[in-house]
């Protein structure tokens, strides 16, 4: 198709106005504040919430498969509530809802509130991943470990979970990468993570496209690095599997 000269001019105009000297200056000036938001909030929030979330997830998954009705019942209700409600609503309930009860112990700092909501959210989703991974390990592995005298928890710790970890890395990486991006929701409860920083910058520069695209690019770089790390972990954990 032949390009009309008018169309070409239009593109050039857009290009020049997007990368104008002024805009480049805005990009440069906003980079450090955004990076600060990443380093002091986005990454810590992701790491802490994921770590706590995985602990909750393992406990929940073990409760679900324990065969003890009370425990598996509690685990089911927890997963159902978290999966059945929006993360944004959970954040608001933890931060604004509980904070409004008048009980000091339930008045959280924005960051703490965000950690609680994200951990609970990750815990529920990841518990299903971990449960599926545990169930994917052959029954013979449980039998073999029992037959040499291991208790239930010894079998779980030494034999089942290490193998389940390998199976769960790809889906858990999904959750982790998802969480990095979901932390942007914490901007709504006053956590100065990267996206909130971006919003603040836009409020003074009036260049939403520019700054939000910059923020998006930074999220993408973080996630790209994470997928490289995922690959390394998978290679390491696959060392005992025929390829």
């Amino acid at each position: 198709m032949k390009r009309s000269p008018k169309n070409g001019l239009m593109k050039m105009y857009l290009y020049n106005s997007f990368f104008s000297a002024e805009n480049i200056e805005i990009l440069q000036d906003s980079f450090l504040p955004l990076l600060k938001g990443v380093l002091s909030y986005t990454i810590p929030l992701t790491l802490i919430s994921f770590f706590i979330g995985i602990i909750i997830a393992v406990v929940t998954a073990v409760c679900r498969i324990s065969g003890i009705k009370l425990l598996s019942g509690i685990a089911r209700v927890y997963v159902s509530i978290i999966r059945g409600t929006p993360l944004l609503v959970q954040l608001f309930i933890v931060f604004f809802g509980l904070g409004n009860l008048g009980i000091d112990a339930l008045k959280f700092e924005p960051f703490t509130g965000a950690v609680i909501a994200f951990s609970l959210n990750t815990g529920a989703y990841a518990s299903e991943i971990i449960r599926a991974s545990i169930l994917s390990i052959e029954k013979g592995q449980w039998e073999a470990s029992s037959s040499i005298g291991m208790s239930y928890f010894q079998s779980l710790k030494r034999v089942i979970l290490p193998q389940a970890t390998r199976v769960s890395i790809p889906p858990l990486s999904n959750s982790f990468i998802g969480l990095v991006k979901e932390t942007s929701l914490a901007s709504t409860i006053l956590v100065s993570e990267m996206f909130r920083k971006a919003q603040e910058i836009v409020a003074t520069t009036y260049t939403p496209l520019l700054v939000y695209v910059e923020a998006a690019a930074i999220y993408w770089v973080i996630c790209f690095v994470l997928s490289l790390i995922q690959e390394r972990i998978e290679i390491r954990l696959n060392r005992y599997v025929k390829t």
């Binding site: 592995q141 039998e143 470990s145 040499i148 005298g149 010894q154 390998r166 599997v241 025929k242």
Partner: protein, 245 residues
């Protein structure tokens, strides 16, 4: 060494073992044969309590467990340590090397320190002819080699009896011999063994007693020569005819 008294087991409505009584003397090798679904594997698994019988009692060495009352998990755990189980599908731990597979019982269950456990595992593996495969993962071993690791792993917890659940059924024909050879060697050392197998030649050569099971009951038992050459029961004759065809 082993005594089973009136052991019964059912899965739902299906009765798999009916009032089984079995005595195995110390140092004897008992081979259990029978058609599939006869309950022979369940019988073996009951000895290791991988299946829990509904009633009856089992004694191994000095320890008795009575299934007519409530049995605690602790009791089961301690009872299990008396027997070493070798599985049809090996069930090695794929994330551990051969050496680590054998060390796992002593280290995690018996609390033996790692250096000692490593030494013991090494000597067990060389006993089953795998001294050159200590640091390889199960997937790098042939079926026969994996099963020999399985035997070493079971022996590592110093069981009083060894239980073999069709140890050669999943193997390629040319690999069966190496596993049977190790088992024969154990028998010659005077280990008490219960073996569920379809290897009739092994039964003839190694067994002190052969038990024929069908439909959850022991139909007849005897010295291998007698049972194979002059079976008393019609069902035993039919089974032996079928497998000799």
């Amino acid at each position: 060494m082993i005594s089973m008294q009136q052991i019964s087991k059912q899965f739902g409505d299906l009765v798999v073992l009916k009032d089984i009584n079995l005595e195995v003397e110390k140092g004897k090798v008992v081979v259990v044969i029978g058609p599939s679904g006869s309950g022979k594997t369940t019988l073996l698994r009951c000895l290791n309590i991988l299946e829990k019988p509904e009633s009856g009692s089992i004694t191994i060495d000095q320890q008795t467990i009575d299934f007519s009352r409530k049995v605690s998990k602790k009791e089961i755990l301690s009872f299990r340590k008396q027997s070493g189980m070798v599985f049809q599908t090996y069930n090695l731990f794929p994330h551990f090397t051969a050496l680590e597979n054998v060390m796992e019982g002593p280290v995690t269950v018996q609390g033996v320190n790692k250096a000692k456990a490593r030494e013991k595992a090494g000597s067990l593996l060389s006993k089953v002819g795998l001294s050159e495969k200590l640091d390889v993962y199960p997937y790098q071993l042939s079926g026969g080699q994996q099963q020999r690791v399985g035997i070493a792993r079971a022996m590592a917890i110093d069981p009083k009896v060894m239980l073999f659940d069709e140890p050669t059924s999943a193997l390629d024909p040319e690999l069966v011999g190496e596993v049977l050879l190790v088992m024969k060697q154990l028998a010659e050392e005077g280990r008490t063994m219960v073996v569920v197998t379809h290897e009739m030649k092994f039964a003839r050569e190694v067994a002190d007693e052969v038990i024929f099971m069908d439909n959850g009951v022991i139909i007849e038992s005897g010295k291998p020569d007698e049972l194979f050459s002059r079976p008393k029961e019609q069902r035993t004759k039919e089974f032996l005819n079928l497998i000799n065809q």
